[in-house]
Amino acid sequence: MAEQVKTRLFDDDRYMRWILIGPLLLFLVCFMLYPTLYSLYMSFTDYVMRGAPNFIGLDNYRAVLADDVFWAALGRTLYVLVLSISVELTLGMALALVLNRDFKGQGIVRGLCFIPLLVSPLSMSLMWNYILHIQFGVVNTVIGWAGFEPVGFLSTPGLALNTVAFITIWQWLPFSTFVLLAGLKGLPRDQYEAAQIDGASPWRIFFRLTLPMLKPLIIIIILLRTMWLMRLFDPLYGTTRGGLETELLDWMIYRVSFVFFDIGQGAAYALFALYITLIVGALMFKQLIKAMDGK
């Protein structure tokens, strides 16, 4: 009898699919639905970590719309987002094409290029902070030897934000590179041979053949990097700590929620940021599914 039930549950796809996904759904309810709903509730209150939360309606949201600091942080976040993703994709594509060749020691070179992806973002931002320091950083020492004035990479407003973007690009460029490299390795050979026999130029082959076939991977990179960049925090903690016009969205929410303990206001900011990411993410995910199934 028990054997029968087991067979029926596990061999019938209708039950099996939900049994397999059950633990994940449970986790999603606890770790996704709960915090979202709780934040939503908090965003309508004036909770400041002590006392009882009072319902204040849409006041927090009105404050978000009127807050220049928030819009500046959002603008900077989008700036870093666009800058990082475009650099990572173009440079990543170039590096992937270089690494896709067969050469001596390719295993070692690939292993070394993989390193930034594995090192802790906090460690690396602290290290870059030291390397790029205006007084005793090694980069400025070399710049000094070359006869130029030292550059305040992390101490000049305007430049500091680009330096933060540079640190995160440095860290994540190998991700784009290796995803695209994996894609290049998986491309079918016969179509290339056919194109070469037809006498197509390398540029034409790249734009007409390689790029369209890599499209799903490019969408995946944009999707994942958008999500990760919207919540950039560690590189700021290790460098400017939100000063010098580098305050990004996550840092601002952190400041409001955990430094000023204005939980209600923080939740309103956070949900606002979440909605933006969700919309962008959903649009890209749709494209991705289309590109993956379209072949």
Partner: protein
């Protein structure tokens, strides 16, 4: 000429990627005076920073904490993500909607997720505990792990399972003897990413731990004091923290290149 440019590009790429990590080791071997010296390339190597980590400010507890929580959370992530990813890939459960919701857990700004959990953990007494932070790491890594494994499962042809089913095997035997051996590289790559990302994670560790469950990332941040940054001991702790990830890079290098297609390119 082409060969020269090629090697120049490779050399430049390797240098830019490796130099900052190499500089951690150089800095760790420098004494307090050499850290701020005019010529950063000439210095007298010393082990006093490591001595500091052993005797003055012991750090091995942070290492052990990070290890415990990385391994525990990775184990639970795999237990949850593996079956779910199979269900998504084979049965298209939820028509992509549930998969998107799973992936979107990482869209939640980290700090936002932190607020409800902080209040909840405060009430449950889970702040500054190994269990609490491990649970957060399961949440943190679950989405990417599911997505990555989904790609690996997509690459296993369904016909293979259909054929075995016609031969009279039941579902569990098929999973055990056909699917599992094929998904092994995927499990290896995903495990590695989960281990490394929970090992490196900072924001949750910083907000949710104080003393007992403090991780190695938070340990590094404590060297940034209110007065000065202790670069030497900080770099020494970093270069210990980096070691396991470098080892992982060495072992996984081959699998990763095959594994990062997310099942999106059908070769």
């Amino acid at each position: 000429m082409g060969r020269f440019l090629f090697w120049l590009a490779v050399g430049l790429m390797v240098f830019v990627f490796v130099f900052p990590v190499l500089w951690i080791y150089v800095t760790a071997l420098k004494g307090p005076d050499d850290i701020f010296a005019d010529n950063p390339f000439v210095f007298a190597p010393t082990l006093e920073n490591f001595d500091y980590l052993i005797n003055v400010r012991p750090s091995y507890w942070e290492l052990i904490n990070s290890m415990i929580m990385s391994v525990a959370s990775t184990f639970f992530v795999m237990a949850v993500s593996l079956p779910a990813a199979y269900s998504f890939a084979r049965f298209n459960t939820g028509n992509g909607h549930i998969l998107f919701i799973t992936i979107s857990t990482r869209m939640f700004p980290g700090v936002v997720a932190a607020i409800p959990f902080f209040l909840l953990f405060r009430d449950l007494g889970l702040l500054d505990t190994h269990l609490g932070l491990s649970l957060l790491y399961v949440y943190f890594n679950m989405s990417f792990a599911t997505f990555l494994l989904y790609g690996f499962f997509r690459e296993i042809p369904e016909s293979l399972e259909k054929a075995a089913m016609l031969d009279g095997y039941d579902r569990l035997s098929i999973l055990r003897w056909i699917v599992f051996p094929l998904i092994k590289p995927g499990i290896a790559v995903t495990t590695m990413f989960c281990l490394i990302w929970s090992w490196n994670e900072f924001l949750f560790a910083f907000l949710f731990t104080r003393r007992i469950a403090r991780t190695i990332s938070v340990g590094q941040s404590t060297f940034w004091g209110s007065v000065e940054i202790q670069w030497g001991p900080m770099a020494a702790l970093m270069c210990i923290a980096v070691l396991p990830t470098l080892l992982a890079a060495w072992i996984m290098q081959k699998h990763v290149i095959r594994g990062l297609t997310f099942g999106a390119v059908k070769g």
